[in-house]
């Protein structure tokens, strides 16, 4: 089966994209005309869609008939066979391409699963993927295409924060719900708008702050932070130092590394001798060199070391130089290695995406996934499904109802829909909160050492989007 549609189980809207003439016409038309044309085309193509939908949903399952009895399936009385169109803003090219590949793979897997379960309100999901180039301007263009050209019901996907920043205002202007899987604090900070939500992945502020209790209680009270000298590192510096000091800890030194640096030995003498814990969040191609040189600097007697897996996401822990990390700790958004107490939910999720017990592709043991982040695509689309079903979503006119339905959500139990763990959604801040995982490198694998409570991840609301008008 080829990569893409077949795995996604999408419905082909063959008429919409049937000819060059259509394209030329669409390009030249006004938005209003577009709307009319697309509506006509969708109606015309309904027979094709039905056939494809039935095939996709699985004849044996009798999916449409059973849909109403499936967990989470409500409001199917008026089910249409038209697909729910979800615009997937994906980093296909640019600096985020490595993440984009796994976001795409996870999205295909979850769409296939949702469709096999009967879709949303009895309607299958159709993913319309567009490359944002990991570029904010292009990201905004893509969101606009989802709304005006592809007639998508919602936009979904992207990871890198600057793309979210660039795209969210356009989503707000076009009144299209924009479900991001970005992990940034931008949503909960109140800088975006009511149409932008992050219900499937926790934000960096809650992640970082939740590390403070574990480190203070288990690793040491005197920390030296090593971070790249730009906003990403600064966020860690600011969030963690405040949270750690609130735990009675002390930040001995904050060592900012220039982003273009590729050799780090000269910075290590700045580490105070009484440091008990090194907190590092280095990213980029020089990470392996950083770890290697850190190992050479400390030798066998090192302080405790804590890092964020962002540094080594999609990197094989068997890479040279990483032996030094044995016995050190990492935050993980979702444990890369299947744990002894692996949940049945993680097992199903892992299999669906095609990831083995070591977090690599089932087709290539060296192709390490972005396991700590990509679950967000899976969970977000299940939130979308739940929201649309709660709102009895019928089409773009119900977009506001969809947002209100998601805003009304609170508890999201650990389940097949949320394989990473239970979550609590904050409708006011449009941000979800959940357990964080701290793993210890043991015999070259990340073994779960601690799971934070959700309470550890909470902070004061910084915005109430529900008070904003649509």
């Amino acid at each position: 089966m080829a990569v893409g549609r077949a795995q996604r189980g999408v419905i082909e809207d063959s008429f919409l994209r049937a000819s060059l003439l259509d394209f030329a016409w669409l390009s030249a038309s006004t938005a209003g005309r577009n709307q009319t044309l697309m509506t006509d085309k969708i109606i015309t193509s309904s027979n094709i869609s039905r056939r494809t939908a039935l095939k996709t949903l699985g004849a044996g399952a009798g999916a449409l008939a059973l849909a109403g009895t499936m967990p989470g399936m409500i409001g199917c009385a008026n089910a249409s066979d038209e697909p729910i169109k979800i615009g997937f803003q994906v980093h296909r090219t640019g600096i985020g391409a490595a993440y984009g590949r796994w976001y795409d793979r996870t999205t295909e897997a979850v769409v296939k699963r949702i469709n096999s379960e009967g879709g949303i309100n009895g309607r299958p999901i159709e993913i319309i993927a567009e490359d944002d180039g990991t570029d904010p301007k292009r990201g905004a263009e893509v969101v606009e295409k989802f709304a005006n050209k592809h007639n998508c019901d919602i936009a979904f996907g992207t990871l890198f924060s600057h793309v979210v920043y660039g795209s969210a205002p356009r989503a707000g202007e076009l009144a299209i719900p924009y479900f991001v899987v970005s992990e940034g604090h931008h949503v909960a900070s109140g800088k975006l708008n009511r149409y932008t939500l992050q219900p499937g992945i926790t934000d960096v502020k809650s992640q970082v702050e939740a590390m403070a209790p574990f480190i203070a209680e288990n690793l040491g009270k005197k920390v030296t932070m090593i971070f790249p000298d730009f906003a990403f590192g600064h966020d860690h510096r600011d969030y963690f130092s405040a949270a750690f000091e609130a735990q009675g800890g002390q930040i001995l030194e904050k060592i900012a590394i220039p982003p273009t640096e590729t050799s780090f030995s000269k910075y290590f003498p700045k580490i105070p001798r009484d440091t008990e814990v090194i907190y590092h969040v280095m990213v980029g191609p020089a990470v392996l060199t950083f770890v290697k040189e850190l190992g050479e600097f400390f030798g066998p007697s090192r302080p405790e070391i804590f890092g964020f897996i962002d540094s080594l996401e999609a990197v094989d822990l068997a890479s040279p130089g990483l032996e030094f990390l044995e016995g050190t700790y990492f935050w993980e958004g979702n444990p890369r290695y299947a744990q002894a107490e692996q949940s049945e939910f993680d097992k199903v999720y892992r299999e669906a995406v095609g990831v083995d017990e070591n977090g690599a592709s089932v087709s290539d043991a060296k192709d390490v996934s972005t396991y700590a982040h990509m679950f967000g695509c899976w969970e977000t689309l299940y939130v979308v499904k739940a929201g649309m079903e709660a709102a009895n979503y019928q089409g773009p006119k119900d977009r506001q109802k969809l947002i209100e339905a998601v805003e009304a959500m609170t508890d999201m139990p650990h389940s097949f829909e949320h394989p990473q763990g239970a979550k609590v959604f904050n409708g006011k801040t449009h941000q979800t909160f959940g357990h964080q995982y701290i793993s210890k490198v043991t015999e070259g694998k990340l073994m779960l050492a601690h799971t934070t409570s959700i309470e550890d991840t909470l902070y004061e609301d910084e915005v109430d989007y529900t008070k904003m008008s649509f």
Partner: protein
């Protein structure tokens, strides 16, 4: 990686003037230093100049993969670089000692068999046209995903990378597959042959301008792979070129169609080539020595090829991004640096043509002066003559840079191309029976495979330079008549090539951030 952005990064559009100034002056960079690391870098004198020089010499990666780059940084690249430079130096020493006759014989050729032009070329060209139209149709109608739609993966991976490399290895395949000559042949038989042609004075300047526009699009546009956008551009370019051929004859392809000009040049590297009615075989590049550039524009086109390929690599490096004030770990996207990219590309081209010209000029000064080193009975060689003739010597370098630069992206994207071929209409078909098919980048994750990839790239770069040194010497012997004059004339160009090898390999190991 989740990278919270600074607020000023949101306001990405910048003025053209500011962008150009930013690229052109180090002072502008210093004024925009936001962090200490930027100030440290920008305060270094001559940084910009060094960056531009380095940039001309860089083969790079089109696909950034953290693990691969991390592993490359751990390789003993200094040793490899030193070895590569040594090989080029030894080649230079060898050619300096080589008798004239050997230099000439080196690029001789052997007849394989008689080979006349085949009428089949028109048929295959028409079929190629039909295939291109089919791809364009898919570009408009199939997946919007650039890695699933057959058009972008074919154009950017199969053709622009794979086919171009095949052309350099196996000779002029393009003459069979270009999508215009067959239609032109039909038009000619139908009595639609044009009686006009572009003036000779136009030379190949149109091809240079179009090629620069193409590279600008590929480097600076935010979505050059977007299927529908690419379909529009490919359609427009095919129509534009076809119109040119119909109005000005097939010679249009030699003067204005930059890909034909490029592919014809690369084909001359191949060991097998057609000469008159014979298929002949020789050392790679023998046909380049035979087909020296005869016009300034033909020579400049070759230099533009090299400059564009080099800048394509440079613009992803930490070095370049820091120069234009961009944090390589927080790359703001192509749209934020359009003007810097285009300005950098143009500056790179001007810089390379200037550097080459200086080498030629200085070499002529040495070779044409009276004195005991040279034979004054042999007439002086004019600058234009040497400039044109010696330009073909850099064709192998441009070719291997193309290979080295795109190798990694090709290894990934060819997998998408296979998937797209299996499901061209994006309807879930599996024509090739791939079953569960996952694209992998696992080969970027092990030291062994990364080492093989890197050494393949570096090896190609060294081989290209060695070939260039040999070709340059053979041409110089032809030009100057005596080995001594040829050697003296080659001193500046030899220095250029050694430095080019060194910095090129060094930058091959450099970290990338875009």
């Amino acid at each position: 990686m989740i990278v919270p952005v600074e607020q000023d990064a949101i306001a990405v559009p910048r003025t053209a003037w500011w962008g150009v100034v930013r690229v052109l002056t180090i002072l502008a960079l210093q004024n925009r230093a936001d962090f200490e690391w930027q100030r440290q870098i920008k305060s270094k004198s001559l940084y910009f100049v060094l960056t531009m020089v380095a940039g001309l010499l860089l083969p790079g990666h089109a696909v950034a993969h953290v693990s691969q780059q991390g592993l490359v940084l751990l390789l003993p690249t200094r040793f490899y670089i030193g070895s590569g430079v040594l090989v080029v130096l030894l080649t230079l020493a060898l050619v300096a000692l080589l008798p004239n006759e050997y230099s000439k014989r080196l690029f001789g050729s052997l007849r394989l068999w008689v080979c006349e032009d085949s009428q089949l070329r028109s048929v295959t060209s028409v079929l190629s046209t039909g295939f291109l139209f089919f791809l364009i149709y898919l570009g408009f109608t199939a997946s919007y995903d650039p890695l699933e739609n057959p058009l972008p993966v074919f154009i950017w991976t199969v053709w622009w990378v794979g086919f171009v490399v095949l052309q350099g290895l196996f000779g002029n395949l393009w003459v069979w597959l270009n999508p215009w000559s067959g239609v032109a042949s039909i038009a000619s038989r139908a009595g639609l042959a044009s009686k006009h042609s572009l003036p000779e004075s136009v030379q190949q300047w149109p091809a240079i301008i179009i090629f620069l526009a193409f590279i600008s699009f590929s480097l600076a546009d935010s979505a050059p792979e977007a299927p529908q956008r690419l379909a529009v551009i490919v359609t427009g370019y095919w129509c534009f070129t076809m119109l040119g051929v119909l109005l000005f004859g097939v010679k249009w392809l030699q003067q204005a169609e930059c890909f034909t000009v490029l592919l014809n040049r690369f084909a001359q590297i191949a060991p097998v080539a057609k000469y008159r009615d014979e298929l002949r075989f020789g050392l790679p590049g023998w046909n380049l020595v035979r087909c020296k550039a005869t016009t300034v524009s033909a020579a400049v086109f070759i230099l533009v090829l090299l400059a564009c390929g080099s800048f394509d690599g440079l613009n992803e490096t930490f070095l370049w991004l820091a120069t234009i004030g961009v944090n390589p770990l927080d790359f703001p996207g192509r749209s934020a640096i359009v003007f810097e990219t285009v300005a950098g590309l143009l500056i790179a081209n001007v810089a390379l043509v200037t550097a080459y010209s200086l080498c030629i000029y200085t070499g002529l000064l040495l070779a044409n002066r009276d004195g005991y080193l040279v034979d004054s009975s042999v007439p002086a060689v004019a600058f234009k003559q040497a400039f044109c003739a010696l330009a073909v010597a850099v064709v192998p370098i441009a070719f291997v840079y193309h290979f080295a630069h795109f190798l990694t992206s090709f290894m990934v994207n060819i997998q998408y191309a296979v998937a797209a071929a299996s499901d061209p209409f994006d309807n879930g078909a599996d024509l090739l029976g791939l079953g569960s098919y996952y694209v992998t980048t696992g080969f970027f994750n092990t030291p062994q495979s990364v080492k093989i990839i890197w050494l393949s790239q570096a090896g190609a770069v060294v081989v290209g330079h060695v070939l260039s040194v040999l070709i340059a010497h053979a041409i110089a012997v032809e030009l100057f008549g005596s080995a001594r004059r040829a050697i003296v004339s080659q001193v500046p160009l030899a220095v250029f090539m050694v430095v080019y090898t060194f910095i090129g390999l060094w930058l091959l190991a450099a970290p990338k951030g875009a």
